[in-house]
Symmetry: C2
Amino acid sequence: MAPAGSSPVYHLPHPLPLDSGQALEGAQIAYETYGTLAEDASNAVLVCHALTGDQYLASPHPITGKPGWWERMVGPGKPIDTDRHFVICANVIGSCMGSSGPASLGPDGQPYAMRFPVITIRDMVRGLVALLDGLGIERLHAVVGGSMGGMQALSLAANWPERAARVLVIASTARHSAQNIAFHEVGRQAIMADPAWAAGDYYAGDARPDNGLAVARMAAHITYLSEAGLTEKFGRRLQDREAKGFGFDADFQVESYLRYQGSGFTRRFDANSYLYITRAMDYFDLAEEFGTEEHGGKLANAFAGTEARFCIVSFDTDWLYPTSESRHVVHALNAAGAKVSFVELSAPHGHDSFLLEHDQLDRVVKGFVEQ
Amino acid sequence: MAPAGSSPVYHLPHPLPLDSGQALEGAQIAYETYGTLAEDASNAVLVCHALTGDQYLASPHPITGKPGWWERMVGPGKPIDTDRHFVICANVIGSCMGSSGPASLGPDGQPYAMRFPVITIRDMVRGLVALLDGLGIERLHAVVGGSMGGMQALSLAANWPERAARVLVIASTARHSAQNIAFHEVGRQAIMADPAWAAGDYYAGDARPDNGLAVARMAAHITYLSEAGLTEKFGRRLQDREAKGFGFDADFQVESYLRYQGSGFTRRFDANSYLYITRAMDYFDLAEEFGTEEHGGKLANAFAGTEARFCIVSFDTDWLYPTSESRHVVHALNAAGAKVSFVELSAPHGHDSFLLEHDQLDRVVKGFVEQ
């Protein structure tokens, strides 16, 4: 948990200003890169990760030993081709894989815990832009993200429109809905109800709020999958038994799967980071971010004057960020006169489809990044 | 919690046989009645309650002081008219409002806790049938239920087809899906992760697993409401504040609402009962209940030869037990040659619509019960 990690770390030269009005002193960002930066720095692609993702985009995860989370999409000859592009993926501020977050040491040498400032999606992106500055990249060839990564891509396009020529947003939204907030609130309450959470000050002790974090992950995990996908994958099949056990063990495969997802997650993720990042997502509303006073709260105003090309992708079975939310973004981009293409892909697996095998998605990503 | 209650209690004269192969000795069922039983006992309507419901159908709840949960539907001159019908509502076995459940004392004088046998929907109905025997009611004018109450109505129709002339099933299903099971499993894990749960043996102590139970209730509550209903009711509106608080208090109204739902629930419900009843619901699969060997696992076989009239009602925004599940039941009833009518009602509020104001539902219920 919160390992030193093998990733390079960028130490921000200045305090990072935050939407809350605070500033984060001594912030650092851990990142991975793949491919070679062109001399004119014109071939950089920034991939933004999702809630529980990290910088291990196309290289093995140091804790789980599993392949990078988008290894099928990023690499030599792959849709995001590292023979042509210099691909960057950075752990977001607030997370726990080497970038500054609640598990990091504060100015007093103790872990921040809940003294870490509450951050927003825009704050995460501010950190990423600082990293781009550090790497000498003025304008990205493309910024790409799925789920929360898509929120970052939209926020970058809206707030730093000169920093990306192409913006690819997959299975995402420009605002968190009441239902999205509700599911996250269940997760946060599960963590904070765990006595081992200890108001966030658990780093020095032996106990961690693994039980609460596992429940939070289980609840969230249901939202990542479609009802039909769950039925296809598990149905009502029993786990390692011929008949119902008439007890409270995991009788059904779907129960066993969720328990496994929950407990596995606690090995690689920090509960306080889960609180902070879900909060940032719940706060996300790109139209509001720009102030209702100035722009009438209209999403289109967030993209006024943009010269970037946009590609918005949704999945027909995604009920977390359904196609209607992608359409909402597309309409705003149209209203802003932006160049935008939109595709709804058919996939059985719901929100998680962006992480799974999907030939059409591969073609869309490749076509857009290489255009 | 688990109060003696003011309801009449029926003490079963024989041990209650259970699907697990066990039998429940000394079982008792607490119930309420409304109206007067005709001399020939022909005017009885049994209303079956949902997961967290109870027998206080049309009279105030003794703990919360709130009106009965279906007071708008049951009473003099109401759709289920107590001037004409003798209406019975009984607390199900496994629950905590006076019927035998995990909080009840076992043969050794100690609360059963997790030594209470695991029960099924059919076991609940077996208890209800025993109560009907005790009340001298051979054949119900109608059995009516929403959500888990609908499961009981279907189980009664399938297993005791001679006991009901009319079967009204609202917002329900003949089987729990993988997604249904998954949400319940999150709730169970939240309860069992609470140290105060103490493997179920918390009745003698001061602490109860209220935190875990509240999280379980919050997760379930999201499934009772539609996404659009949540948006209409709460959207992204803030709670008692002008701007985001950049903290972890309930910034959004939907967070505040969920916390209130969670904490209020713990005042009136027993965590172990929540475990047992969700388990019973997850086990429910009416086709399978009849054995795949004997009937090929076909739902239609469950209703073979039935002479009852059926009415199946779904709501278009119910994603917990969607209309497709009601259609599945209707097709099976059609295949069995049963008399069945089916209506999908439009309502913005999802699964909970069956408990809310809905004139069309009132007309359907009145029309069917009085036909």
